[in-house]
């Protein structure tokens, strides 16, 4: 792609990632949420695909990394649910203390959001990976 596109993307992509992390981590206090944040992560990767080219992006966001990420997200969600069950709160119950403060006020919700954000981001990134020609291209 053109020089303008590359320069703008180089500035823009970190900000998109920050916005995505903000969406994921503050879903319990402001609009947004884990799903939107995860899709935003994959949008940043999509911008990287069209502006920096396929080979460079595939080297940055490797197939194995994305794959491990989606499995970690899924396992994290299930393990947190099971931990709550072991602690006697029922599956996916809220077992962390709800103390004040921006990040800790919702207990386990923020951890679950993080898991879903990682999972959704990695799922759609994997789809983009296949869209741009599979494991070799």
């Amino acid at each position: 792609m053109s020089l303008i596109m590359r320069t703008v993307s180089r500035v823009l992509i970190p900000f998109i990632f920050v916005y995505a992390i903000w969406l994921i981590l503050t879903g319990h206090t402001s609009p947004g949420g884990a799903f939107a944040g995860g899709v935003t992560v994959s949008l940043a990767i999509a911008l990287s695909y069209v502006s920096f080219g396929v080979p460079l992006t595939k080297e940055r966001f490797r197939y194995s990394t994305v794959h491990v990420g989606r499995i970690l997200g899924m396992l994290g969600f299930l393990v947190i649910g099971a931990t709550a069950m072991v602690l006697g709160k029922g599956f996916l119950g809220n077992f962390l203390p709800k103390i004040g403060g921006h990040f800790t006020m919702a207990g386990v919700i923020i951890v679950l959001s993080l898991c879903i954000g990682i999972l959704v981001g990695c799922e759609f990134s994997l789809l983009l990976y296949y869209l741009f020609g599979g494991e070799e291209g």
Binding site: H28, P31, G32, G73, M74, G107, I109, L119, L127
Partner: protein, 174 residues
């Protein structure tokens, strides 16, 4: 407000019709994207910012995937049905839709006053029971966490299926 909503709905319907009727696939995809973005604006005006954000980002990703898929494939023009049959079918479908909505819409509850009383419990006790200020998140990740689990399992399995279909073929045939 109502005037703006009416205008937005007209734009949505017009862009949806354009998405179906346009011959150029790229233009049709863009019309579909415009339709989705205006639906996002409607969500935002109806004070559902969570839904609006999800609509915007998913619409952007869908549009991106569609445009990439269209620019990277070749196609031959398909023979379409005669205009008269399509017009008759369209009129029949619209008549059925109008007939049903004539009988069903009076039975629906008024906008913003749901029939089920469980939502009032979420509004009253949501913050102290879950600690989440955003009620959408408290429903998604606390009251209805099982639904979210089901959703992410659906997403996981569908991407698994895609990667099974599109994976690199093993070397040496087979």
């Amino acid at each position: 407000m109502d005037l703006l909503m009416g205008f937005l709905f007209i734009v949505i319907i017009a862009s949806a019709i354009a998405a179906v009727e346009l011959k150029d696939l790229l233009a049709a995809a863009l019309a579909l994207g415009a339709c989705g973005f205006f639906i996002g604006v409607v969500f935002f005006l109806m004070m559902a910012p969570d839904l609006a954000i999800v609509q915007f980002v998913v619409e952007t990703l869908t549009l991106f995937v569609l445009v990439i898929a269209i620019t990277r494939t070749h196609r031959r023009s398909a023979r379409s049905e005669p205009v008269r049959i399509r017009a008759v079918l369209g009129v029949i479908v619209i008549c059925i839709f109008l007939l049903f909505s004539f009988f069903v819409i009076p039975l629906m509850t008024e906008f913003g006053s749901p029939d089920q009383r469980v939502s009032q419990h979420y509004i009253d006790r949501g913050i102290e029971e879950t600690g989440s200020e955003n009620l959408v998140t408290s429903v998604l990740l606390d009251y209805r966490a099982y639904d979210t689990l089901g959703e992410i399992i659906v997403l996981f399995v569908s991407v698994l299926a895609v990667s099974l279909i599109l994976r690199e073929k093993p070397k040496g045939g087979g």
